[in-house]
Amino acid sequence: MSAAAQGTSKAAHGDVAPKKKKGPGALATAYLVIYNVVMTAGWLVIAVGLVRAYVARGSYHGLYYSIEKPLKFFQTGALLEILHCAVGIVPSSVVLTGFQVLSRVFLTWAVTHSVREVQSEDSVLLFVTAWTVTEIIRYSFYTFSLLNHLPYLIKWARYTFFILLYPMGVTGELLTIYAALPYVQKTGLYSVTLPNKYNFSFDYYTFLILIMISYIPRKSIGRLHFPLQKSAIRKTGYTG
């Protein structure tokens, strides 16, 4: 029952409160509830920020700037989830969770933040919106699960919205990376050329292209995993 899709999907870890097995203790549960509540609130702030900015400006353009700081803060904060898995209070794979969170953090910092020119692209809005809706649902799902009171609506929303949000997010992410390519090539961003003292080179432009190619296997696996998890839960009832 471990993690499903990566990047924009809803399932970073499996269901968080296994009371039948050796679940987290009372203290860990309290901490996790607080963590998930804070994250839900954070992404709600981003959602509200997006809506307010849209209403104020009257257009989709450049909405990134209105939520830049909370986006960076809360998306980066998700790195804690890797720690949760490592320590064992969340029953998910460290590797899988790590891949997903790092993929998001990479897009936030190494692409969107680093390449100023893509920040006004519509593709950024596309993935930010997908992430925002996804995370609000996901974190509230975990919060309720931990409190052993999961409204069916949230569970339904999580698995249903995924169908739209997942491709939306992947598209936004790919288009953003694609938009960044010419600027990376021109400025040699994050690249190291020969000759140098340590006899090493790195071409960030090629690296980004490889990342784009890697979306094909990575996202297909995620696309398949998540519905499987959904049907597994359908059969056993909710496992919260």
Binding site: L194, P195, N196, K197, Y198, N199, F200, S201
Partner: protein, 309 residues
């Protein structure tokens, strides 16, 4: 009274009966059962067979004797196909021949790697040639050891693992060979001194590593005195056994550290770090196995780095 046992082999997944062996000698081994099974199913040679007493249990070793197992007069075993297997010698050979040849492709600057006008040229730096000599020597030594020195315990390894391992070793050697033999390669900051010191350490570690392999091989070969753990001998290189359980790994790390210093190349350092992590995992496992098996195992010994790790 019929002292013979019956053995039935079921498929671990489908529970379908694959074979029923009548009149099996009680002192037959699992290996014997596998041979009999192989006669009925020629595509499943013994190395591919996993036989267990419990569908989810651990596989039975070939040396186990039937009558010492917790079975009644009819032994029920579960069969799983482990997939195509290759012998350890083949595996080691494949893993080591790749880096040897690939590095040479880069050293001789075969066309299409670097720009056209550099094809088949050679580097003006002496260290590049020295590095090639060292790298080639290292892998030749490994190949020779594989054929003449190592005695492998288990029979084989699955094909998938071999592909993965080869990709890793071959890939890394291509990556580091690319930079060392590059037309824009920069020799080490401290020049000849750095290269010479590194070569000395390299030579010591290679000799050390070889000494340990010989020592371990003799230990394996001499079964007459039962199982023993390795101890230092008259050869000074084996004195590292006073401090660590796996000095072969210690020396190997030393080899790659010296190669990193010699070439002052970051990819080599990365390979060294990854190798160190992997070898530490192996050494710790071996160390734990030794401590568990031998009550008189020297307490001062640690796994791989004297007094530290």
């Amino acid at each position: 009274m019929d002292l013979h046992l019956k053995v039935e082999v079921l498929d671990a997944k489908t529970r379908e009966q694959l074979c029923f062996l009548d009149k099996v000698e009680p002192h037959s081994t699992i290996g014997d059962i596998k041979s009999l099974f192989y006669k009925l199913y020629p595509r499943w040679y013994p190395a591919r067979q996993s036989l267990t007493l419990d569908p989810k249990g651990k596989f039975l070793r070939d040396e186990e004797i039937l009558q010492s197992l917790p079975v009644g007069t009819t032994a029920t075993m579960y069969f799983k196909d482990l997939g195509p297997q290759l012998g350890w010698t083949t595996v080691f050979f494949a893993e080591n021949i790749g880096p040897l040849l690939i590095y040479l492709l880069f050293y001789f600057r075969v066309p299409y790697i670097y720009s056209d006008r550099c094809a088949f040229t050679s580097s003006p730096h002496k260290v590049v040639t020295m590095a090639c000599v060292c790298h080639t020597f290292h892998y030749l030594k490994r190949l020779i050891e594989t054929i003449f020195v190592h005695r492998f315990s288990h029979g084989s390894m699955p094909l998938r693992t071999i592909v993965k391992n080869c990709l890793y070793y071959w890939g890394f050697s291509a990556w580091l060979a690319y930079y060392i033999n590059h037309p824009l390669y920069t020799p080490p900051s401290y020049g000849e001194v750095q290269v010479h010191y590194a070569m000395v350490i390299f030579a010591i570690c290679e000799m050390g590593n070889f000494s340990i392999h010989l020592s371990l091989s003799h230990l394996r070969g001499d079964r007459s005195r039962g199982r023993r753990f390795p101890v230092p001998s008259k050869n000074p290189f084996t004195w590292l056994f006073f401090f660590v359980s796996c000095p072969n790994h210690t020396y190997e790390v030393g080899t790659w550290v010296s190669f990193s210093i010699m070439t002052q190349c970051l990819p080599v350092a990365v390979f060294t770090v990854l190798g160190f992590i992997q070898m530490t995992v192996w050494a710790k496992g071996k160390h734990r196995a030794y401590v568990r098996e031998f009550k008189d195992y020297p307490a001062v010994r640690v796994a791989i780095i004297p007094l530290i790790l």
